[in-house]
């Protein structure tokens, strides 16, 4: 076991006891190693960064399963391998199961004021206020605060899929509220 992994194990044990500084140091230290590990197994660079973030989230959720008497490296690599295999399976399913967010661009277009009309930003605000809270939060996190879907899901405390569903319903409702036709959505 390398000196570096020993230090990571110690930091993880401190993190289990609630030491936020050790935890932050650990996460910042492991990210470059994770990028190499994930990048070697996943060809797409853009997807690799998402997988690295998923590994960090999985590590956070599974941090109570780390046993300080055991090496940290295999524990981390298993979490990373699982995240990679999830990403590869999701990639295979995406084409048939997931709905992309085509409405996102249209919503962004609506930010621009239209000639002879009330400023659309004000109309958007009114329309947003009429959405159910969960849908409003999803749309705001992605389009107002411009977070990634993963970050927005973390912030909202729901899964990525649940957040996408909420956002999609929000876009649909916004189109109707802003006078668009539902079949355009």
């Amino acid at each position: 076991m390398s000196e570096r992994e020993l230090a990571w194990g110690r930091w993880m044990a401190s993190a289990q006891a609630g030491d936020a500084a050790a935890y932050e140091a650990l996460l910042r230290e492991i990210v470059p190693a994770l990028r190499v590990f994930v990048g070697a197994r996943l060809r797409e660079t853009s997807a690799a960064e998402d997988v690295v973030q998923n590994v960090l989230l999985s590590l956070h959720r599974a941090r109570h399963t780390y046993e300080p008497s055991r090496p940290f490296g295999p524990w981390l690599r298993t979490i990373a391998r699982n995240a990679i295999s999830d990403a590869l399976r999701a990639r295979g399913r995406r084409a048939e199961r997931e709905t992309s967010l085509p409405d996102a661009d249209r919503i962004a277009d609506l930010r621009e004021p239209a000639r002879g009309d009330a400023p659309l930003s004000a109309r958007m605000e009114r329309a947003l206020a009429e959405l159910p809270p969960a849908q409003r939060e999803a749309v705001e996190l992605i389009h107002v605060r411009e977070l990634s879907v993963l970050e927005a899901a973390t912030r909202a405390g729901v899964s990525v899929s649940a957040l996408k569903v909420r956002a999609h319903r929000g876009y649909k409702a916004l189109r109707i509220l802003l006078g668009g036709r539902e079949r355009d959505v």
Binding site: A15, Q16, A17, G18, D19, A20, A21, Y23, E24, L27, R28, V31, E49, V52, Q53, L56, L57, S58, H60, R61, A62, R63, H64, T65, Y66, E67, R70, P71, P74, W75, L76, R77, T78, I79, N82, S85, L147, S148, L150, E151, T154, R155, G157
Partner: protein
């Protein structure tokens, strides 16, 4: 480092709370195996009072091989189940998988070569099926308790393949709980022996997933903030 990854790390560190570590796998294994062994012992005691005369196992070579194969099956399945629940324990899971394969091969050999029996259309005979079902359920029903406990443990742990972990978590107690039936069954039929006893750990574990999966899901849901 990308800004989003940076922000995520900030957020995870900011929201960090102390956690209670998962109990050691050795302790969990002892608990599950001990409970299954106690239930198997209780089955023997109950059977000794209710069955008259109690058919005594001969402890011939074939019985010894059956006991050894089922003990190996239970141990291996427990290793696979526990190894699948905790990251970094693949070696344990792989070793367990090898043990399960060997044990299952031995069970099939004992059932099919020793008894020269293979379940065919005779398995559909109503009387034969009733006796077989009774013997299989006699092993499966007591296994519900250890399966329930393992599913609760699995929900606290971090299994990547939940169904796989729960399936082997059910095979393990069934491996022990089929032994009293195998050694004391009064029904003199080879096919009954193969389906009602030797294959019960595998077939029963599939059925016990119906218990384990909802328990796992509800325990997981209750842990979410």
């Amino acid at each position: 480092m990308s800004e989003r990854t940076d922000a995520l790390i900030d957020e995870l560190a900011r929201g960090l709370r102390p956690v209670r570590r998962l109990p050691g796998l050795g302790r969990v294994a002892l608990g599950i195996a001990g409970l299954a062994a106690a239930l198997a012992g209780a089955q023997l005691v109950v059977a000794s009072f209710t069955r008259s005369p109690w058919p005594k196992p001969s402890f011939a070579a074939a019985d010894a091989a059956t006991i050894a194969a089922h003990a190996l099956l239970a141990t291996g399945a427990l290793a696979v189940a526990l190894g699948a629940c905790v990251p970094g324990r693949e070696r344990l899971a792989r070793a367990g998988g090898l043990a399960v394969a060997l044990a299952f091969g031995a069970v099939v050999w004992i059932g099919c070569v020793r008894f020269a029996a293979w379940p065919g259309v005779a398995a559909l005979a109503p009387g034969w099926s009733r006796a077989t079902l009774a013997c299989a359920l006699g092993s499966i029903v007591p296994a519900v308790l250890p399966v329930f406990l393992f599913a609760r443990f699995g929900a606290r742990a971090a299994p990547h393949r939940v169904s796989l972990a729960l399936f082997f978590g059910a095979v393990a107690p069934l491996g022990l709980l089929t032994l009293p039936g195998i050694l004391g069954c009064a029904y003199p039929d080879e096919l009954h022996h193969v389906v009602g006893h030797l294959l019960t750990p595998a077939l029963g574990a599939l059925g016990l997933l119906l218990v384990a999966l909802p328990v796992f899901a509800s325990a997981r849901a209750s842990q979410r903030p």
